[in-house]
Point group: C2
Chain length 195, copies 2
Amino acid sequence: MARAVSETHGEILAAAARRFAVTGYRGTSLQDIAREVGCSKATVLYHFANKEALLAELMAPAIGVLQDLDDRLGGLTGAAAQEVAAQGFVDLAVRFRREIAVLRGEFPELLCQPAFAHIQEISDRLRDALAGHSDRPGARIAALVLLAGISEACAEFVDIPDDELRPALLTLVRRAVEPVAVSLPQPPTTEDKDS
Amino acid sequence: MARAVSETHGEILAAAARRFAVTGYRGTSLQDIAREVGCSKATVLYHFANKEALLAELMAPAIGVLQDLDDRLGGLTGAAAQEVAAQGFVDLAVRFRREIAVLRGEFPELLCQPAFAHIQEISDRLRDALAGHSDRPGARIAALVLLAGISEACAEFVDIPDDELRPALLTLVRRAVEPVAVSLPQPPTTEDKDS
DNA sequence: TCAGGGTCTGACCGATCGGTCAGGCATGCT
DNA sequence: AGCATGCCTGACCGATCGGTCAGACCCTGA
């Protein structure tokens, strides 16, 4: 064998992304990844210090974008925060569908790992922003439902192209989010309180 | 020791429910459950044929209610199907929060087990009903986001009482669901809840 | 008193997990 | 030629998994 180092490194990363997305982090063994690449388990552990480091490198780009979004959310309040959070998260979720799928369901345990120390706080702030920083239970519940639902949808609808999924999700979020108290005049949606 | 059989049986079931909800099915060992109950792992396997049977008995009530909802959804179309699906699933998710939490994230693998053979089809039909049986991508995406988001919210908001969570979710769903094209003015259907 | 059945347990099993280690095999530099 | 370095591997490790099994400990009815 003896491929160029960067090549094998990338192949392992790609294989791990594929397997993690389907069977989860804990449900995927290093043996599984090695088999898919066509190398030995020891080779996987030659390129990555351990299983956790493999996951961390896999998630790094998505986490970087999430951090950026968190920074942009910094001083915003009310409807502005809602809109930035909605656009930012929908965009992130669509772009990083596979990474989202990896985290799906294993959130609590994975968050214990040092590489993901801040994700919990960031996602809390994101949820808060999407709720327009309102403390009404309805607003907070709606924000959580939407964030979790978007994640799940992106992980599941792998066959829908980005350009179709993104606007559909954004339309949904804008319709579903609880409008904040200070609401500048908004063209009334047709089916508002009717049914 | 030698408690009454039904007592230990129930304690194991309750402990398993608690642990599964927090660390997931695969992430919880029989040893963990036994430790929480205060008995040996062999005792757990005396009361339940295997780990899978323990999970099946745990999920049985929730699955029964899900089946009922599926039956009620049978002949409905359009807005009526949407409303029944929304009310039925919100009610189910709030009542069986812990069971929902167990399934969270381990859906694909758990569905392979015979006890849950039909859940995938039922949840597909449920999603279809919530979309008003529309084939527009926006409607299907919205339905999936809502179902997944509700599940996640119920699993996470353990501190909110049922009476507060249920109406908040229902309001959100009615606001977020894509209205179907043919919407006949429907009087508030007095759902005969328990048939 | 004793037999039998329900309840429970420690010891054990094979399989698999993440991870370690010494060494094989090219390749390139001196 | 000799040596160092980078890439890769089989063999192995301790831990833990789900599950089995023979037997101990009650309680009850004959």
